[in-house]
């Protein structure tokens, strides 16, 4: 009950507390500690907040609230599903692997290149397919691979 504010305790408890405090030096000291700690904690956090440069804060908030709802929803979904975002970084490689599978399972069409394709990944967004006719460079859009 130490550290309660006026009106927070039932009147009977409040009176009992006052009566006890009047005769107990240790509890008076504990109360003083509690008050000092509360004031110092509040001052510490507010001082920390006062040191932060908030110049970009409001623009960042406004940019988010002024986005169309659909974009906001998509970005929020991506933030909540970081695995998907991480997977998107691998999109060019996955696309190349998909192409290999497609070539190797080419169905009724003959697939003369299938056995001779060489795949080289260059960075995250560029894949080079080399076949007997020469290299084919698949260039991904880096902006698609950043996730968020």
């Amino acid at each position: 009950m130490l550290g309660s504010r006026p009106g927070e305790l039932p009147a009977s408890d409040q009176e009992a507390l006052h009566a006890h405090l009047a005769g107990c030096d240790a509890c008076q000291a504990r109360l003083a500690d509690s008050v000092a700690l509360g004031a110092a904690l509040s001052a510490a956090l507010q001082a920390e907040a006062a040191r932060v440069d908030f110049a970009p804060f409001v623009d960042q908030v406004m940019a988010r609230v002024e986005r169309p709802a659909g974009v906001r929803g998509l970005l929020g979904w991506l933030r909540r599903h970081r695995l998907v975002a991480a997977t998107s970084a691998l999109a060019p490689t996955l696309a190349a692997l998909g192409l290999i599978v497609y070539l190797s399972r080419g169905g009724s069409e003959p697939a003369p290149m299938a056995g001779d394709v060489e795949v080289t990944a260059v960075g995250r967004a560029t894949v080079v397919l080399s076949d007997e006719e020469g290299p084919v460079v698949l260039i991904g859009d880096p902006s698609d691979s950043g996730g968020s």
């Binding site: 003083a32 500690d33 110092a40 904690l41 956090l45 804060f57 406004m62």
Partner: protein, 210 residues
């Protein structure tokens, strides 16, 4: 009066005036950040949490009826975002250790903390060393103790408001506050000039060297 002014800005923001909401953000950003920082401990995360709180506030502006002040409503959102954020991190890291040992909570030295910290926080508590010690101590508490202390001391919530905000009984509020303060005091004891907490116990375990 700021609260009346806030309500007027909210009305304009509800009507779609971006400038009004912008003013509300600037007006409340530091308070929201201070509360968020106290709960999440990390500066970058506190920044993100604060931003998310404003974005959610904007989304839910139509629901704000003015039953409380805008500040109270906004900080309620920020508290929930911050607690969710800490719990997600905790689930990911599987830790939210209570770094205060029971041996550190033994009594003694009452009043020394008050003497050391002083009674005027703006005069004494603004020293960098103290700021660092307090944040360091706060960071060692488990989330539930950090949160209740921050909401009580920074936001100034009453027992009833804390019970409502945190979804716990008023008796639990008082008990949790008591333990949170006790741990903070134990952690700050060394700074306040008391013997280093737990030193005696450690010595006994190691063979009782004086």
């Amino acid at each position: 009066m700021m609260e009346d002014d806030d309500l007027s800005l909210v009305r304009h923001a509800k009507a779609g005036e971006a400038a009004a909401f912008r003013t509300l953000v600037v007006r409340h950003q530091r308070k929201v950040y201070a509360v968020a920082l106290g709960i999440v401990k990390d500066r970058d995360l506190a920044w993100d949490v604060s931003q998310e709180a404003f974005v959610r506030a904007h989304q839910h502006l139509p629901d704000f009826q003015g039953d409380s002040s805008f500040s109270t409503w906004l900080l309620r959102i920020a508290t929930h975002v911050a607690i969710d954020s800490v719990r997600r991190e905790r689930t990911a890291q599987k830790d939210d250790l209570d770094e205060v040992r029971e041996t550190d909570l033994e009594g003694g030295g009452e009043g020394i903390l008050a003497t050391r910290l002083g009674t005027n926080p703006h005069e004494n508590a603004l020293r960098k060393e103290l700021m660092g010690k307090i944040q360091e101590a706060l960071g060692q508490l488990p989330e539930k103790h950090r949160t209740i202390l921050v909401l009580r001391e920074v936001e100034g919530l009453s027992y009833e408001e804390l019970a409502s905000r945190l979804g716990i009984h008023k008796g639990t509020v008082m008990s949790r506050l008591f333990h949170a303060r006790k741990k903070m005091q134990a952690l700050l004891a060394e700074y306040a000039g008391l013997p280093a907490p737990g030193d005696g116990a450690a010595a006994e375990e190691e063979g009782g060297a004086p």
